[in-house]
């Protein structure tokens, strides 16, 4: 790495998977998740002097991750999906196991979450995946706590409708 930033490697190993676990609730395209996660960590590196002193890096990271995800989705919209095998995301673990395929059934509900408006999907992801309190979710989403409650309420209502419409089990 260009000048080694002290502590960044440990930060990356702890937080990069968390960022991916947030993004997978919002986006199903693995290549886009890869791009957005890497860009998020690049931002953390570029602003390391500030980020390393943050009391709660999760708020900064998830906020930036949301922005980088939008950029990556926008880029995909412009460039389309690459067919170059070199661009395929690295989905297999060293043992050759596809992490996504292994858990297809348990992850099925995420397809419905991704159909929600972005704010609702983000609120559900932050609550269910990261177990964050309402005030932290509000901080990440730059809205009031009341708005977060509203988003969560509408998200659950919409999810129930989506699942019923898809013939899903409730």
């Amino acid at each position: 790495m260009q000048p080694e930033a002290e502590g960044f490697s440990d930060f990356f190993l702890h937080w990069e998977p968390q960022v991916r676990r947030y993004l997978i609730w919002l986006e199903g395209d693995r290549a886009v998740i890869d791009d957005a996660a890497q860009e998020t960590m690049i931002s953390a590196y570029r602003y390391w002097e500030k980020v390393k002193d943050l009391e709660k890096p999760s708020a900064w990271l998830f906020k930036v991750a949301g922005q980088r995800l939008s950029d990556a989705q926008e880029a995909r919209g412009r460039a389309g999906v690459s067919t170059d095998p070199q661009d395929l995301p690295d989905t297999a673990s060293p043992g050759g196991v596809d992490e996504y395929a292994l858990r297809d059934d348990r992850l099925a509900i995420l397809d419905a979450v991704r159909k929600l408006p972005p704010q609702q999907a983000a609120a559900i992801a932050l609550q269910m995946q990261h177990d964050l309190p309402l005030d932290e979710i509000a901080d990440i989403m730059s809205v009031s706590t009341g708005s977060v409650k509203t988003h969560l309420h509408h998200a659950r209502k919409a999810l129930k409708s989506l699942l019923v419409a898809d013939g899903g089990e409730l």
Partner: protein, 317 residues
């Protein structure tokens, strides 16, 4: 299974993903190699312009207008502007960051990657609003700063050739962009007699029409502006800007109410960010009424401001 159970089950499944430390180390190594490559080549991978970049583009041009071609001064002022703006969502960007990450790669891309076919694709992207006019101005500003006037001209002509102009707003936006980029040759190519004849003066609101006239005058197309104004004044058609009430003769008569614009509307018209408009108001360059952040700018003041810029540019001041 209830919805809550399904959500909890999904969260548990996601928690089992990306737990392999070797895979995480491999991803870290990829990121490190990217950063090393960028440090070696002296420039980051070219970022695709996103919404934030488009805002920088508007800011950059804003500064260019005032600082002429002194790159260092432009970037320094830009950094001051951007740092206060970005403090809300991201850490402030620094001068070197803008220079290396945005400007130089941009010039490289246009110079080295965009061949003729690439320019056509890029121009179409601008017209289709995939990139936006802000990015176009940014690209031209970058090219001109780098002394590549010829590439800037090629790109402007490419844009004119491939623009599908359906409405007065389309024409005005393109003309405005070309004016701001000082692409006067491309403007002359664009303003064919056929295009002027095709402009529908009946179904256009007074503010939009006035904006078009100002831009035409700024572009030096005074005879076309006169022709259009005469057609507009004699059209006597209902003005959509006045709730469809029919008017005859001159649209703007003594006693007509002044049109007031919000800061957002002014920003849209000048292709600047609202923050830049506030700065113009604060500096006294753009007269406004109101207090604090509830400001209104008269349409006439916006027109006068545009004219003053372009007249200044035309005389080299």
């Amino acid at each position: 299974m209830s919805l809550e159970d399904q959500l909890r089950e999904a969260a548990a499944a996601v928690n089992e993903m990306w737990t392999d430390p070797d895979a995480a180390q491999a991803r870290l190594a990829r990121l490190q190699s990217r950063l090393t490559e960028e440090a070696t080549t002296g420039a980051a991978a070219v970022p695709l312009p996103g919404k934030t970049s488009q805002r920088y583009a508007a800011l950059l041009f804003d500064v260019l207008q005032k600082a002429e071609t002194d790159t260092a001064e432009v970037l320094e002022t830009l950094a001051e502007l951007v740092s206060s703006d970005l403090a809300r969502s991201e850490p402030p960007i620094d001068l070197a960051d803008i220079n290396d990450r945005l400007l130089e790669p941009l010039v490289n891309v246009v110079e080295e990657v965009l061949d003729d076919a690439g320019m056509v694709t890029f121009a179409r992207g601008i017209v289709d609003d995939t990139w936006g006019y802000g990015v176009f101005i940014w690209v031209l500003a970058g090219l001109r700063l780098a002394g590549s006037e010829q590439s800037a001209r090629r790109l402007a002509h490419s844009l004119v050739r491939h623009a599908d102009l359906y409405t007065v707003h389309d024409i005005t936006a393109l003309l405005h962009t070309l004016c701001l980029s000082a692409q006067f040759e491309a403007i002359r190519t664009l303003l064919t007699p056929e295009l002027i004849d095709d402009i529908d003066v009946v179904n256009v609101s007074t503010p939009t029409f006035d904006h078009l006239i100002h831009v035409l005058q700024a572009a030096g197309a005074t005879s076309q502006a006169r022709t259009l104004k005469a057609r507009f004044d004699s059209s006597g058609a209902p003005d959509p800007g006045t709730h469809g009430q029919p008017t005859s003769g001159n649209r703007r008569r003594p006693g007509d109410k002044e049109h007031w614009l919000t800061i957002a509307e002014v920003a849209d018209r000048l292709q600047m960010t609202p923050m830049s408009v506030y700065q113009l108001v604060d500096s006294g360059e753009l007269p406004a009424v109101g207090a604090d952040r509830s400001l209104r700018v008269s349409e006439q003041a916006v027109g006068d401001y545009l004219s003053s810029i372009f007249n200044g540019r035309a005389t080299g001041s």
